[in-house]
Amino acid sequence: MPRDNEQTGEFTPKILAFCCNWCTYAGADLAGLNRMNYPADVKVLRVPCSGRVNPQYVLKALQSGCDGVLVCGCHPGDCHYSTGNYYAKRRMMIFKRMVEFAGLSPERFQIRWISGSEAGKFRDTVVEVSEQIRALGPMENDAPSRAAIDAVAGTVASPEADEELFAAAKEAI
C-alpha cells in the first residue's frame, strides 16, 4: 500500500485500534449504522475485551509499520467482563506510562473508553487521533519513538527485566 496519497502526496497514517467486542466495537458498528463519516486511517482489530490486549501486540504494531495504536474498551466499571478487568486495564495504563517514559510520543499509543452507545465518541476519537498522528508524521521518521519501542520490546522479551520495568513504572505513578 502506498504510504502517501498519490494525488496530494499527503501522509496517510496507519493506525491500529484494538476494540473490545462488547463496547467500542459495538460503538463503531453504531457509527456505521448512523452513516457517520471518519477517516480511513484507523483499522479496527476486534478483541473480546480490552483486557485481552497484550502489550506485545502494541509493540509489534509500532515496530512493524503502524504509526499509532489505540486500545479501546468499555468505561471502567461497565466492563462486560465485570470489575475484574480493572486490573487488566490498570496494567495497560502502566504499560503506557512505561513506553512514554522510554520516549514514545504519547499520541502514538492511546487508551480510550468508548461504550457501545457512543458512536459519536468513536468517530470523534478516530478523527482526533488521526489528526494527531498526521501532525506527528510517520513513525519511521520519529527516531525517539522508534528507539523507545525497540528498548521496551527488548526488555519485555525477558520476563525478569519486564518485571523490573513494570515495578519501576508502577513506582513512578
Binding site: A31, V44, L45, P48, G51, N54, K60, G65, S82, G84
Partner: protein, 663 residues
C-alpha cells in the same frame, strides 16, 4: 498450508456502493494461503449460503473469510452454515467487517476499497491461525428468577410459571405491584389501574409455581447461563408468615400512626406494622423496623399482644439463601426524578400545592388520601385552576436527563382530563415542549382532552411563586406567540422524569451486565434483541430497560418470558468454546491468572505430567470452561505464555497486527 476461501459480499449496494468488491476479491487472491476469492450479491441469503457451501466443497477449502457486515450481525449465521452444511469446523471462520466499519463510513471507493482490502488481509492472517473448537453441553436448571415485582416482573413471572417452570420474584419493597397499583386510571382507555393490576398480583400469590420474596434483594450472582447461583437476602419482617392470617388486627392497634405513607406519596399516614395498601401481595403485614417502638426503644409490644395467632416475632432476622436458577429477568423498573433538589424555581418542594404526577394519581384515586376528591394538600379546598408542567427533568440535559420519559405526554393529558372531569368549570393549563402521542388511540385521547377545554401552552414555566393568598403564580413563555404568560393557579402538577431505580448500578455489577449512559440496562441489540442482554441467560423487561408505558412494559415482559421459556425448555445448551486454555508444559504455576480472572474460573491443581520422558507432579493452572467467559485477561497476565484464548489466540492476533502493519 491452509486453503482459505474469501467471500466478499456486495450487500446490494450497501457495500458495493463505496467498496469495489471485485477489486477486493482480486487483491484477496494474491494474499498468502488464499485458495479462492469471489463475490456474491447477498452472502447471507439462502442463495449466498449455497454459494459458500458449494465453493468450499469444490475448492477443498479448510478456512473461510467472509467480508461482509459486522460479525456481531451474522457471524453466528455463517458458523451455522459451516456446521450444518459442510465438514468444516464452524470456528475456522473469520468475518471482515467491511460494511459498518468501512462502506458505511466512507464516501467513495477510493477510500473504501483499500481499507476493505486491509481488513480482509487481517482476517485472512487470523483465519490461518484458527483452530477447530468444540462446544460441550451445559445442563439447564429449569427455574427462573425475576428481580423486581412491578407489572413487568409480574407479567413475566405469570407467563413463565404458566408454561410450567418454577419462578421466584425478588422484590425489595413490602409488596409486589410496583407503580401500577398506585395509578388511578390508565390511558388511553381509562380503565382502573388497580382493578387490572391487583388481580394479577393475587394470581402470582396463588400460583403454585411462583414464590414471592418481598423485602428482598439479590446480593450475589455466580455462574452462567443455565446455572446461576443466586444469593438472596430476605430482610426480617418480624412476622411469621406461616402463622399470620393477614387479619390486620395488629395494624388497627399499633400506636405509631404518624408515618408518612409511601403508597400515598406522603399524603396520608400509616402505622409501623402495616400493609402498604389493602390489596398488597403478600397479603400480610410487615413491621417497619425503623419506626416500631418495640424494635427502636424496646417498649410497646402491642401487636404481639393482639395478634390472635402469635405471629409477631421481634427477634426475627434476615434470611440469606443461595439457590440455582437457569435464567434471570431484570424488571427493576424506574423511579421519578427528585425534582425538589433540582428545580428551586418551582419552589423546590416548599409549596405544598406543587405536587408530582404520582401524587396527583393518588389524589384522584377513590382509595387515596382524599377518597378521590381533588383537594389541595395545603388547605383541603378544591382547586379551580390547575397547571400541569410536562417534561420536568425530562429533555433537560442541564438540570435533569436528556431523554424523553415517553409516558408523560399521555398521562399529562390524562391528568388534564381527570381534573376537568372532577372539577366542573375548572380550568386546566398544560405547559409543554412537544406533544408526543404515538400509540394506538393515543392521539385521539389527546385530541379529546383538547376538546374538553384543556389549554395547551407551548413553553416551559420559568418560575412559580406563592402569593400571600395561596395562589401559585406560574410565569412562563408561550413560545408560539412569543408572549409572556402568567397563570394564577391553585395547584400545580409536575410530570417528572423517569430515572433508573436506586441501586441499578450495583445490581448491574452483581449480575454482570451493562447500563447505558442514562443508567437503564442495555439490551443486546436495540432492534433485533431488545429483551436480551449481552450476558447469556439474563433478560430485560419493562422500564428497567428504559422509560415506557404499561402496554409496552407488558409486551416486553411477555417477550422476555418467551426467551426464558425457550431456554428452560432445553435439556442443555452448548458452551462457548472461546475460552482460555493453559498449556501445562509452559505453565509455571505462579497463579497470576488465578488472581486476575474476574470469574474465578482458574484454579491451581496438582497434575502429573510427562516431561522429558519423565513423570513429574507439578502445580499448574486449570480453567473451568463453564465459568470462563473468554475475556482473555489471564492470557495477558501469564508471563510464560502458557495461557491462551481459543478463538482469539496470541498467534492469530499477532499475525493480524503484522498483516496490517506490514501491508
Amino acid at each position: 498450508m491452509s486453503r482459505i476461501g474469501v467471500f466478499v459480499c456486495h450487500c446490494g449496494t450497501n457495500i458495493a456502493g463505496t467498496v469495489d468488491v471485485e477489486a477486493v476479491a482480486d487483491a484477496a487472491r494474491q494474499m498468502p494461503n488464499v485458495a479462492y476469492a469471489g463475490t456474491n450479491k447477498y452472502m447471507c441469503s439462502a442463495q449466498g449460503q449455497d454459494y459458500i457451501v458449494d465453493i468450499i466443497k469444490e475448492h477443498n477449502l479448510d478456512r473461510v473469510v467472509i467480508a461482509s457486515c459486522s460479525p456481531r450481525m451474522h457471524e453466528r449465521l455463517f458458523r451455522k452454515v459451516l456446521a450444518e452444511k459442510t465438514d468444516l469446523n464452524p470456528y475456522l471462520l473469520e468475518v471482515a467487517n467491511i460494511r459498518e466499519q468501512c462502506s458505511w463510513v466512507h464516501k467513495d471507493k477510493q477510500i473504501g476499497t483499500p481499507k476493505a482490502i486491509n481488513l480482509v488481509a487481517m482476517a485472512v492472517a487470523k483465519a490461518d491461525c484458527d483452530t477447530q473448537l468444540f462446544t460441550h453441553e451445559i445442563p439447564v436448571t429449569k427455574r427462573a428468577l425475576i428481580i423486581g415485582g412491578g407489572i413487568a416482573g409480574i407479567q413475566a413471572a405469570l407467563d413463565i410459571a404458566d408454561a410450567g417452570f418454577p419462578v421466584t420474584i425478588v422484590e425489595r419493597k413490602t409488596t409486589i405491584g410496583g407503580k401500577m397499583p398506585m395509578l388511578d386510571k390508565t390511558f388511553p382507555t381509562l380503565d382502573c389501574s388497580a382493578c387490572i393490576s391487583t388481580p394479577k398480583m393475587s394470581e402470582c400469590e396463588a400460583h403454585p409455581l411462583i414464590e414471592i420474596k418481598t423485602l428482598s434483594e439479590v446480593e450475589k450472582v455466580e455462574g452462567y447461563i443455565g446455572n446461576f447461583d443466586v444469593t438472596i437476602r430476605e430482610k426480617a419482617k418480624y412476622i411469621d408468615y406461616d402463622k399470620c392470617t393477614g387479619c390486620g388486627m395488629c395494624e388497627t392497634k399499633c400506636p405509631q400512626k404518624k408515618i408518612p405513607s409511601e403508597f400515598n406519596q406522603g399524603m396520608s399516614t400509616r402505622t409501623a406494622v402495616y400493609k402498604p395498601f389493602p390489596q398488597a401481595v403478600p397479603s400480610k403485614p410487615t413491621i417497619d423496623a425503623d419506626h416500631c417502638r418495640m424494635l427502636t426503644e424496646g417498649k410497646c409490644g402491642v401487636c404481639a399482644k393482639v395478634c390472635p395467632t402469635g405471629a409477631i416475632d421481634y427477634q426475627d432476622v434476615d434470611r440469606v439463601t443461595t439457590e440455582r436458577y437457569g435464567a434471570i429477568v431484570l424488571a427493576t423498573g424506574y423511579e421519578l426524578i427528585d425534582w425538589t433538589r433540582l428545580y428551586g424555581e418551582y419552589g423546590g418542594g416548599r409549596y405544598a400545592d406543587v405536587i408530582s404526577g404520582l401524587q396527583f394519581e393518588r389524589l384522584v384515586n377513590a382509595s387515596g388520601p382524599t377518597e378521590g376528591h381533588i383537594l389541595r394538600p395545603s388547605d383541603g379546598t378544591e382547586p379551580k385552576t390547575m397547571v400541569i408542567v410536562k417534561c420536568v427533568g425530562s429533555r433537560d440535559p442541564h438540570k435533569g436527563v436528556p431523554y424523553c420519559s415517553r409516558a408523560c405526554c399521555m398521562y399529562g393529558a390524562k391528568h388534564a382530563h381527570q381534573f376537568m372531569d372532577k372539577v366542573p368549570g375548572g380550568k386546566c393549563f398544560v405547559f409543554y415542549m412537544d406533544v408526543r402521542t404515538p400509540g394506538k388511540n393515543y392521539d385521539e385521547f389527546y385530541m379529546n382532552t383538547l376538546h374538553e377545554g384543556a389549554r395547551y401552552i407551548r413553553g416551559r414555566i420559568s418560575k412559580i411563586t406563592r402569593r400571600s393568598d395561596g395562589k401559585l403564580v406560574c410565569l412562563g413563555e408561550d413560545t408560539l406567540s412569543g408572549n409572556v404568560v402568567e397563570v394564577d393557579a391553585d395547584m400545580v402538577v409536575l410530570e417528572t422524569a423517569m430515572v433508573p431505580p436506586e441501586g441499578a448500578k450495583k445490581l448491574a455489577q452483581t449480575v454482570n451486565t451493562q447500563l447505558g449512559p442514562e443508567g437503564f440496562f442495555t439490551e443486546a441489540h436495540p432492534k433485533l434483541r431488545p429483551v436480551e442482554t449481552n450476558t447469556g441467560g439474563l433478560y430485560l423487561a419493562g422500564t428497567a430497560q428504559g422509560p415506557k408505558d404499561i402496554p409496552d412494559t407488558v409486551a416486553q415482559a411477555g417477550a422476555a418470558a418467551a426467551k426464558v421459556i425457550g431456554l428452560l425448555c432445553k435439556q442443555s445448551i452448548e458452551s462457548n468454546p472461546m475460552v482460555a486454555h493453559v498449556d501445562d508444559s509452559k505453565c509455571s504455576g505462579c497463579g497470576a491468572c488465578v488472581d486476575i480472572c474476574p470469574y474465578s474460573a482458574v484454579t491451581l491443581v496438582e497434575k502429573t505430567l510427562r516431561e522429558n520422558s519423565r513423570k513429574v507432579t507439578r502445580t499448574v493452572a486449570q480453567v473451568n470452561e463453564g465459568l470462563c467467559q473468554g475475556c482473555g485477561a489471564c492470557t495477558v497476565a501469564c508471563r510464560p505464555g502458557a495461557s491462551d484464548l481459543l478463538g482469539f489466540n496470541d498467534e492469530g492476533i499477532m499475525r493480524e497486527v503484522e498483516a496490517y502493519a506490514t501491508r
